[in-house]
Symmetry: C2
Subunit: 187 residues, 2 copies
């Protein structure tokens, strides 16, 4: 097997271990030792692939981002050709909300990363770029290309995600809020 592929695979394996640790015990439990034990490798091996915790976190955040892009892509495919804009926007939002166990685990990791990046803005450029792209894409689907409405919908979805993870809102309540917002934006 070529060396480059092996390197990326090993990094992904370690990042997956990091995410399992973060999802189960919280970000403050993410240590070199803990991640190494979870990945079934030595601490020295983790250090070989990631020089710093920041580097490991940034890579893991990228894995979460790619995984959510794949989920979004699959959800869009499932709608068939030329879906109505409102259906497409709703599918995007529900795919990104933590409504099943897998996306709930990813959501907990994303939340942990957000609180991590809030004190280290330098680690979050990919996050910012992703948000800008998503706002542009949603705006293109809203009546009148509504950029402010798109930015609001994305913020609403992010807040709903937090309240779902924290248990403040039930799934039913979150979906009712989302649909009411779509009523306002597509009125």
């Amino acid at each position: 097997m070529p060396r480059k592929v092996d390197h990326r695979e090993r990094r992904t394996q370690i990042a997956d271990a990091l995410m399992r640790v973060a999802a189960e015990h919280g970000l403050e439990a993410v240590s070199l030792r803990h991640v190494a034990a979870e990945a079934g490798v030595s601490a020295g091996m983790v250090q070989h692939y990631f020089r710093t915790k920041d580097e490991m976190m940034t890579f893991a955040l990228d894995v979460v981002r790619v995984r959510s892009e794949v989920r979004v892509g699959a959800a869009v495919q499932a709608l068939g050709p030329d879906p109505a804009p409102r259906r497409l926007v709703r599918a995007l939002m529900t795919t990104l909300l933590p409504l099943d166990e897998e996306s709930r685990a990813d959501g907990r990791v994303a939340l942990a990363f957000l609180s991590y990046t809030a004190v280290r803005p330098a680690t979050a450029p990919a996050l910012r770029e992703g948000t800008t792209q998503m706002v542009g894409f949603i705006a293109g689907l809203l009546p009148g290309g509504d950029e402010v409405g798109a930015a609001g919908l994305l913020a609403l979805m992010e807040g709903l995600g937090m309240y779902l993870l924290g248990g403040q809102y039930t799934e039913e309540q979150a979906l009712r809020v989302l649909d009411a917002q779509l009523d306002l934006l597509f009125r």
Copy 2:
């Protein structure tokens, strides 16, 4: 000084130190040793006042909550008697958004707590109760007592707060989104 007052004061002093550590270095830097050093007391002293990290975190979250209630109270007072519902709702939301350095520091702590509570739902009952009360209060100010609209507005504010802390949205953009949402709800 009576013993009880001293106890609460000391706990608040330690919780303040915890919040400074969390705001500056992130939640994963919050350790007994680090908090003790920041508070200028011994690690044994911290352990005397808080048996576990969970206990310390729960108390600190309560301090943040009370502080934000005080800020909200002051903002409402400043509006004078019988403010228009829309002005009152806007003042509530802007007070809760991380728009100045103090509320940004509190926001980073709140975000850290949210990611902490997302893996330990048992530590967050006060958080949930506060959200329910706030939704009820806002609903009473919206046309038709709109509960779903109130729940959506609060989620939108929470998402805007995250994007402000993460640097995805600028202050100007966040306020434009908030005002557009108030336009929709008070239309």
